[in-house]
């Protein structure tokens, strides 16, 4: 040959993904606990849950929620250990159920997750930063914190701060797995220390009078109804309707579990990077669930030692229903502070501690964004390894395959979500996230449930306990069936209880159909292109083993 050839490389086939099993059970736990989020989910029980289900005992709600999430966690851990690949849920569903349905569900989850990252990035300046700055302003009697909080909540402020967060998170997720784990570890330590301070503040208060005095000192001057005793009457006047029945609390637990604890199972989405996934995925998801449960429950118990259940609900209600609160207050704007961080701060108004908690809160919110980026990018990478999306997605070099480009795809989606959330656009993804996560989760869970009958070989790869039979059915099927029932209930509940679900059914269902439909279009489009260009039907990639019938016997 006259020309001197040079080595050029292309994307890799399935399996040699370039991904390295970096994360132990501990590393996977860090992802799980940060995706639950000790900060954002640390607000939810005492502010949102309490206000939507006034009168409910948070400890009971959290306990009911934990029970169902444990079943779901075990189901996903089985998926991740049976198919230990990037995007394990997608790989399983596309092989066992249907390639196009598996892809479309996965596509929808990723689109939504990516956009929700933007929503979360906007939530930081719109809600989290004010929730941390306004208490500083009240406690330190310094209006500058209020100005900062006001700026953060404007569309421009929220987009600028959110974009900065997205850029920081993108840069961090492009680093090695070990680096990401170190950042998550730092965040966990900070988050834990912040919670220790919060819990200690609540614990160290001698009794309810201390809380009342502290509240009245800082919140009394905020308005005519600022004092402790006025809060429940004001909330009742604004429409709060406490219900102390066990049914009410159980309902709340059944519905709110995913909102509070979502994220514990995400290591399944990158199980190819988890060492010993058969054990690690169970340990990490259950560990993340139990750790967050323990922290939130202790917080609840300590809070109830100081204030009645209805008071916690009233404060949340006043915050989440500002128009009704203002009306009930005779037109006066009501300042409400239903934040566990604020309760801690008024009991121990120490500037260093308050600033430290604020810093830790923001840092762990960054960790939360990192986890979304990480898992969503790995699912996209998995599609690319199946060549269901263009080859360039996995990167230009076969010797250095890396999901860098998939991370950048998630960045693009996040910026869309950020813009939408900043200008209060139509996507409104954060409020429907649990609904979308549940709907898309139906597909891999159905695949797991029917797996024992669809692929005997793959079934044999399940952990032994998952193969064990009870009442004639494999445990994996029972777990999957239980999770399916839970998810179907969650879908129904999203419409029955619009305050925690689908407030705009037409819009939400339209978005769901558009996302799923676009997933089918991409899949069938790719199939058509590959068939015409390469002469290969990508469906062959997804077919599972040969039929058992007529298999020859060899020695």
């Amino acid at each position: 040959m006259s020309n001197t050839p040079t080595a050029q490389t292309g994307p890799v086939e399935r399996r040699r993904s370039g991904l390295v099993r970096t994360f132990s059970a501990w590393g996977a736990f860090l992802f799980g606990i940060h995706c639950i989020s000790l900060s954002s989910s640390g607000f939810i029980p005492y502010s949102w849950v309490a206000s939507v289900w006034p009168g409910a005992d948070l400890v009971w709600v959290l306990t009911i929620a934990l029970g169902f999430c444990v079943v779901h966690a075990a189901t996903y851990a089985i998926i991740g250990s049976t198919v230990s690949k990037a995007g394990a849920d997608y790989v399983l569903a596309s092989r066992v159920l249907s390639p196009s349905i598996g892809f479309a569900a996965s596509w929808t989850l990723v689109l939504f997750s990516g956009i929700v990252v933007g929503g979360l990035a906007a939530w930081v300046p719109q809600s989290a930063i004010p929730a941390l700055l306004r208490p500083l302003s009240i406690i330190l009697r310094d209006e500058r914190y209020n100005f900062l909080a006001d700026f953060a909540t404007t569309p421009a402020g929220s987009f600028v701060i959110g974009a900065a967060l997205i850029i920081i998170v993108t840069a961090s997720v492009l680093q090695s797995g070990r680096f990401i784990q170190r950042v998550l570890m730092l965040g966990f330590v900070l988050g834990l220390m912040a919670w220790i301070i919060i819990l200690w503040s609540l614990w160290s208060a001698p009794g309810p009078e201390t809380f009342v005095t502290a509240w009245n000192k800082f919140m009394g001057p905020t308005g005519a109804h600022g004092d402790f005793q006025s809060r429940i009457p004001l909330a009742l006047a604004a429409g709060m309707n406490p219900n102390h029945s066990m049914w009410q609390m159980t309902f709340a637990g059944l519905i709110m579990g995913f909102w509070i604890f979502y994220g514990y199972y995400i290591p399944t989405f990158f199980s190819e990077e988890v060492r010993n996934p058969g054990k690690s995925l169970f340990l990490s998801s259950l560990g993340a669930l139990l750790t967050s449960y323990a922290i939130f429950v202790v917080g609840g118990l300590l809070l109830y030692r100081l204030v009645p259940h209805d008071w916690v609900a009233a404060e949340g209600y006043l915050f989440n229903n500002p128009a009704a609160a203002t009306k009930a207050a005779g037109g006066e704007a009501v300042v409400a502070m239903p934040w566990i961080t604020f309760y801690s701060a008024i009991l121990q108004p120490n500037k260093v501690a308050i600033v430290f908690i604020a810093f830790a809160w923001i840092f762990t919110l960054l960790n939360l964004l990192q986890t979304y980026f990480f898992y969503a990018s790995r699912i996209v990478y998995s599609w690319a390894l199946d060549r269901a999306v263009p080859d360039w997605v996995v990167g230009p070099k076969v010797t250095e395959p890396h999901p860098r480009r998939t991370v950048l795809i998630i960045t693009g989606l996040a910026l869309v979500g950020l813009f939408d959330a900043s200008v209060k656009g139509p996507l409104n993804t954060q409020l429907t996230f649990a609904f979308f996560a549940v709907v898309t989760g139906l597909v891999p869970i159905t695949a797991l449930t029917i797996l024992p009958w669809r692929d005997r070989k793959l079934f044999q790869k399940m952990p032994a306990f998952a193969r064990r039979r009870f009442a004639g059915l494999p445990f994996a099927t029972l777990l999957g069936g239980g999770t399916l029932l839970y998810f179907l209930w969650m879908i129904v509940a999203a419409f029955v209880f619009p305050a925690v679900g689908v407030g705009n059914p037409v819009g939400t269902l339209g978005l769901l159909v558009a996302f799923i439909g676009s997933g089918f279009l991409v899949f069938w489009g790719t199939r058509a292109v590959r068939l015409r260009r390469d002469g290969i039907d990508i469906l062959a990639t997804y077919r599972i083993g040969v039929p058992d019938a007529n298999e020859p016997e060899f020695e």
């Binding site: 001197t4 050839p5 080595a7 490389t9 890799v12 040699r16 076969v398 590959r530 020859p552 060899f554």
Partner: protein
């Protein structure tokens, strides 16, 4: 014929299940041929012997009992994972064991080819095979002597469709000192001889067991040599173990496609100039088939797709 479709697999290492899947895949794909890029035989053979009231075998340092009624299922499982088993009344000496092990390898290979003949011949699908560095000369000789559907293309050229397909079933030296290893200089010499038999390099397909060095499809776990001469894989570290001679040969000759195997954990593809280099990879010991479907048209590669079954 201007359109050819190949199912490419490698390093089956005696796995019955992988072989069955390869045949099924070729039928499903309506392939022109199956190419098996070496390492046909397995690496382990269990010795099952009579014990008090039953049977037992040794796995490492452990002796494991097995009920007679479970033996058939156990042997089937071993076969699917690429293992052999022989039933004896007394523990054999080394020479007897080696002979029995070798016999098991060649018998299974013949069974495969017989089965492939029944499944593929009526459909006009050809089966092209080379031995690999892990195949003994006994296995290579058994392959050479086959006159059924299994075509031995080791250091030979055959025509399939519009492609000359040439095979080379050796590797460069490995830490395990396997049966069919050659120094790089000898590989270069023999590949040159093989290349001289090719009339149209632009359409030629070479099946060379050891992949070319440094294209990302020759990665293997780094090994540690212990003082006793043993070899252990170093956890987490991968190194390039491909052949410099193969790389030089590809750069010089620029055939259409080079198909390799050898490095199980390194499936993928890369281009070296105009040559597409493929390694399907292998996970034979779990009965999982790693393969590549390769489609050519009018003398060029139209497409290729990794398949895991």
């Amino acid at each position: 014929m201007s359109n050819s479709r190949f199912v490419v697999v490698s390093d089956l290492h005696g796995s019955n299940e992988c072989f069955r899947k390869a045949i099924a895949l070729a039928i499903e794909m309506e392939a022109s041929g199956i190419i098996v890029a070496g390492d046909l035989s397995g690496k382990e053979c269990y010795v099952i012997r009579e014990a008090r009231g039953g049977l037992e075998y040794r796995d490492g340092s452990r002796t494991i009992g097995v009920a007679r009624e479970n033996l058939s299922e156990l042997r089937r499982k071993w076969g699917d994972e690429g293992r052999y088993s022989i039933i004896v009344s007394e523990v054999p000496d080394d020479a007897t064991y080696s002979k029995a092990f070798g016999g098991a390898k060649t018998r299974r290979l013949r069974q495969w080819i017989d089965y492939a003949g029944d499944a593929l011949s009526p459909r006009g699908i050809r089966l092209l095979m080379i031995p690999g560095n892990d195949d003994s000369e006994e296995v290579a000789a058994a392959l050479r002597s086959e006159d059924g559907v299994g075509e031995d293309i080791d250091e030979r050229v055959v025509l399939i469709g519009e492609h000359e397909v040439a095979g080379f079933g050796y590797s460069n030296p490995t830490p395990w000192r396997t049966a069919r290893e050659l120094p790089e200089e000898e590989i270069a010499r023999r590949l040159t001889n093989l290349g001289d038999q090719i009339h149209d390099a632009e359409r030629a397909v070479f099946v060379i067991h050891v992949p070319p060095l440094g294209l990302g499809i020759d990665l293997a776990p780094e090994v540690i040599l212990d003082p006793d001469g043993g070899v252990e894989a170093a956890p987490g570290t991968q190194v390039e173990v491909g052949s410099t001679a193969v790389r030089t040969f590809i750069e010089g000759m620029q055939p259409l496609v080079v198909i390799s195997g050898h490095c199980h954990d390194s499936p993928g593809f890369a281009h070296c100039g105009r040559t597409l280099c493929l390694n399907p990879g292998s996970a034979y010991n779990s009965g999982t088939l790693y393969g590549v479907v390769l489609v050519t048209e009018k003398g060029r590669v139209r497409g290729h797709q990794g398949i895991v079954r």
